[in-house]
């Protein structure tokens, strides 16, 4: 042993068992304090490098790749002289020999050892639990197994309605499954919530599509060969195709127990994170400190710092005193902050505020004049102040509600935080540190990289942005908010200036607001905006348009154009088909193609021939070349389909007739399906309608392009007329508020589906009627652009090549 140390230049060997977030953080803190001091080797059972486990539900959902949640690069390990052995499970610790043994052979010696084995999923005693189709949710590998299996399933049950269970359910929803969450308690997230807020959260999550079964203890998995259902202790049962167990975690202590270390619920550690062996430390979820174990990153990172201070000798006095727990979560789009212990009982002074119609609930529990716990659900603008009051153990203000609403009655933000309070509670980054880096010129990405703030759960990023806005001065790039690059105004300010100055043409806007710089890339966006603002009073300068919008056809790679006539709802006729065939032959169309939007594309038409092609077709423009409503795909529906519950073709045709030619910030593809089988693929459309018994579901923000995104449910209505009204309202709101070329998925995510529902369905700001009027006026202003074939805007409009 000694000889080996000598060979290594006297470097002490540090072995770390575990490659979770706590292990990674401990090694990072150690190599920060004493670079090169130890020869460090990390052993992890998982086949991956260290990753951000907090983001696993996004990996499960498929919105993040496994690689994108990796925390450290290969170079990082090299630079710090750390050897990482992935897929290397440690079998045993020999404290006498100071070695560890690896599964499948091999061993390594240590001078100091850190046990960071984390935790294992808690699996309740359920009969038949080894049936194929039952999973736990803890690792990247679990996510991959669940996602692969989900492809063959329609329904999934999640056992456990705590934070982890809801996260798993959220990830599974993205796979299009019907999800039932089974919970023993009468409401979800019982660790963080009370019955009232729990019921409120359950309602919100149900409206997004989750089903709950409360007060159900699972007894047995049904099915042999594969999962068919679950039976509960009350003798009820449900059918399901797969089961995900997420009932919490338990410290992974087997190695420590086998090695004879002191273990209770976790590996017992003192304030220096030392176990009962003076050469063995422990950190993370496997640690029990002063009788408590922790399952959130912030305490684990605190432990990692103390451990590093101690093991390197950087600060031998460092001591871990336990953590005060506050969490900030986003549960399927619903903000939730949970602080300390918000249970009621003797000695608790409770302040409660609820707005059930908005899903907002706030509760403070003060004990002995200090904030002991809090719940903030649905609206968390006061979170920074509440968390700071708790973590600083400060006296509560005489009027407790001041913590929720601010003493001045104004909304509280990062602005109100004391300088020493943490902005990022995951990494405990203080406002002072953040502000100093901002003052040094850091923008968000650099700020996050340098301070680590915002790189845990990411929940504090809005506060970081607010601080950058306040302290960043010239550091922040204001161009990020401009509607188009060359005019330094965001969309609302730009519209206001255009109205105030009566600017009706693109060149007028460029001259008056853009300093005369006629950036070509900015012109189409300005033209689109001016048309939306002024409608028929817009002064149309054709040179501001992209070529497609000058000639109302889509340019192809050889300079010819494609012609797509409108076929409403994808329903055509023998007469139309005959005309299309004749036109294709007469004008030498090179390809006749059925499009994905249920129309017919004539490809290879010369610019000069466009007017004659349109005349001979006698059909209106399908707008397949521009940022406007493109098509409304339909399935056969009630009229013929034996499963149809709604007349999808009729509604599709009505939608297309009503909104044809309405220009939008980017193209919009729509669909109507006649039943839940969704044959028209409505849930990956910008606006997609699905017939349900007694009405229609309207989904918005779907996409199946570069990125695939399932649309969010905006509303369920009972009649076609209501569907047309809600769709029109959404389209108009999108027209007024989206950035140029921002497609609906990005827009819906930016505004938030909750907010859209509040605005467009609940009409919380009283805008609905105005939006309905605006879109109606736009519809009445519709004119088929192909009529310009008969009356060109100018004589050269369809002349592509000119003979000299």
């Amino acid at each position: 042993m000694m000889a080996e140390n000598m060979i290594n230049g006297g470097k002490e060997k540090l072995v770390v068992i575990g490659t979770g977030m706590a292990a990674g953080r401990a090694v990072e803190e150690i190599t920060n304090r004493a670079p090169g001091r130890f020869e460090i080797a990390m052993y992890g059972a998982e086949p991956h490098t260290i990753y951000n486990r907090i983001l696993l539900s996004e990996v499960l959902a498929g919105t993040k790749s496994p690689e994108s949640v990796f925390l450290y690069s290969t170079q990082w390990f090299e630079r710090r002289g750390v050897t990482l052995a992935s897929g290397a499970r440690v079998e045993a610790i020999d404290r006498a020999q100071k070695t560890i043994a690896l599964e499948g052979g091999g061993q390594a010696s240590y001078n100091k050892l850190i046990i960071a084995t984390g935790s294992l999923p808690m699996v309740p005693p359920i009969e038949n639990i080894n049936t194929p189709g039952v999973f736990v949710f803890r690792t990247i590998n679990d996510c991959q197994l669940i996602a692969a299996y989900a492809r063959r399933c329609r329904r999934a049950a999640v056992v456990g309605g705590g934070l982890l269970g809801i996260e798993a359910a959220r990830g599974l929803l993205e796979h299009g499954l019907e999800i039932t969450v089974v919970e023993v308690m009468p409401y979800p997230m019982a660790q963080q919530l009370d019955p009232e807020s729990g019921a409120m959260l359950a309602r919100r999550l149900e409206s997004i599509g989750l089903k709950f079964l409360f007060e159900k203890a699972t007894q047995r998995v049904l099915g042999s060969g594969r999962v068919r259902g679950l039976r509960f202790k009350d003798d009820t049962a449900i059918d399901t195709d797969m089961v995900v167990i997420s009932c919490g975690i338990r410290p992974n202590v087997r190695l420590a127990v086998d090695a004879g270390l002191a273990v209770e619920r976790g590996i017992v550690c003192d304030d220096r994170l030392l176990t009962s062996d003076p050469d063995i430390y422990s950190v993370g979820e496997c640690v029990e400190h002063r009788g408590r174990t922790y399952g959130l990153v912030a305490p684990l990172f605190e432990q990692a710092r103390v451990l590093a201070d101690h093991i390197t000798g950087a600060n031998p006095e460092a001591a871990y005193g336990g953590s005060r727990i506050s969490t900030r979560l986003k549960v399927m789009g619903v903000d939730l902050v949970s602080v300390g212990d918000a249970r009621e009982g003797p000695g608790a002074v409770v302040t409660r505020y609820a707005e059930p119609h908005r899903g907002v609930y706030k509760k403070l529990v003060v004990r002995g004049g200090k904030l002991a716990g809090a719940i903030l659900l649905g609206e968390v603008d006061c979170a920074a102040a509440v968390i700071a009051a708790y973590e600083n153990d400060a006296a509560a203000p005489p009027r407790h509600a001041d913590l929720l609403f601010g003493a001045g009655g104004g909304a509280d933000t990062a602005d109100a935080l004391p300088m020493e309070a943490a902005v990022c509670t995951c990494h405990q980054v203080s406002k002072r540190v953040v502000v100093e880096r901002i003052a040094a010129g850091c923008k968000l990405p650099q700020l996050c990289a340098e301070t680590r703030a915002g790189t845990g759960c990411g929940g504090c990023r809005p506060q970081l942005e607010a601080l950058i806005a306040k302290y960043g001065g010239a550091g922040r790039d204001p161009a990020a908010d401009y509607y188009v690059k060359s005019v330094p105004l965001a969309k609302p300010e730009l519209i206001a200036e255009i109205r105030r100055r009566g600017l009706r043409s693109v060149s007028a806007v460029i001259r008056e607001l853009g300093g005369g710089l006629d950036d070509p890339a900015s012109k189409p966006g300005l033209a689109s905006l001016l048309r939306t603002v002024w409608r028929d009073r817009y002064e149309d300068e054709r040179d501001a348009r992209f070529i497609n919008d000058r000639v109302h056809a889509n340019i192809q790679n050889d300079g010819t154009f494609s012609v797509v006539p409108r076929i409403y709802g994808g329903v055509t006729s023998p007469g139309q088909l005959r005309r299309i065939a004749e036109v294709a032959e007469k004008y030498g169309v090179r390809m006749v193609k059925i499009t994905g939007g249920q129309r017919i594309d004539l490809l290879g038409v010369k610019r000069e021939d466009l007017p004659a092609v349109w005349r001979d077709l006698g059909m209106p423009s399908g707008h397949a070349y521009t940022k406007a409503l493109r098509t409304c795909k339909t399935c056969v529906g009630q009229e013929f389909c034996r499963y149809g519950v709604g007349d999808s073709t009729a509604l599709g045709i009505a939608i297309e007739r009503r909104f044809q030619g309405v220009e939008t910030p980017h193209k919009m593809k729509l669909a109507v399906s006649g039943c839940a089988r969704n044959c028209a693929e409505s849930t990956v459309k910008d606006v997609g309608v699905v017939a349900v018994p007694g009405g229609w579901q309207i989904h918005v923000g779907g996409a199946a392009g570069l990125r695939v995104r399932a649309a969010d449910l905006l509303a369920t209505v009972s009649t076609q007329e209501e569907a047309l009204t809600i769709i029109g309202r959404f389209i108009q709101y999108y027209r007024e508020n989206a950035r140029y070329a921002e497609r609906s998925p990005a827009f819906v995510e930016r505004i938030g589906i909750q907010r859209l529902r509040a605005l467009l369905i609940e009409d919380c700001e009283g805008q609905a009627q105005r939006l309905d009027r605006e879109i109606q006026a736009e519809i009445e202003n519709y004119r088929d652009p192909w009529t310009e074939g008969r009356q060109p805007h100018d004589p050269m409009q369809f002349r592509g090549e000119v003979q000299a």
Partner: protein, 125 residues
């Protein structure tokens, strides 16, 4: 330079056909190009993209984008450049130099005299 070119133009006998042994060609009335747009002019087998800025200045570049052959005359113009409609490569109108790209388009001297556009230097293909 410029006065020589003017003299050559003055030698033109017919505004609408090839003339002058130095290769200056009349392309016809400037009104053939709507303000702020471009058009592709064909002279026999030869062709050029000719642009007319809103301020009246006229420029000519090779007709096909050096990137993948897109019709440059159909591009949006502004800030002294044209943007190819196919893949967005930008070229300076005055000399064809690529803006933010390594490619370059050939440019041709072009002038409006009276209301007629004249171009020079078009090679036989």
């Amino acid at each position: 330079m410029r006065s020589d070119w003017m003299r050559e133009c003055a030698m033109e006998t017919d505004n609408h056909t090839v003339s002058s042994n130095s290769g200056a060609i009349a392309l016809g009335p400037v009104g053939r190009i709507p303000p702020g747009e471009g058009r592709c002019f064909k002279i026999g087998a030869r062709q050029a993209a000719v642009f007319r800025q809103r301020d009246g200045a006229v420029f000519a570049l090779q007709a096909r984008c050096p990137h993948q052959g897109g019709p440059l005359a159909d591009g949006l113009i502004g800030a002294g450049a044209v943007v190819c409609p196919l893949h967005g490569r930008r070229f300076r109108l005055s000399d064809g130099a690529g803006v933010d790209n390594e490619l370059a388009a050939r440019s041709y001297p072009v002038e409006v005299r009276g209301a007629t556009i004249f171009i020079r230097g078009l090679e036989q293909p």
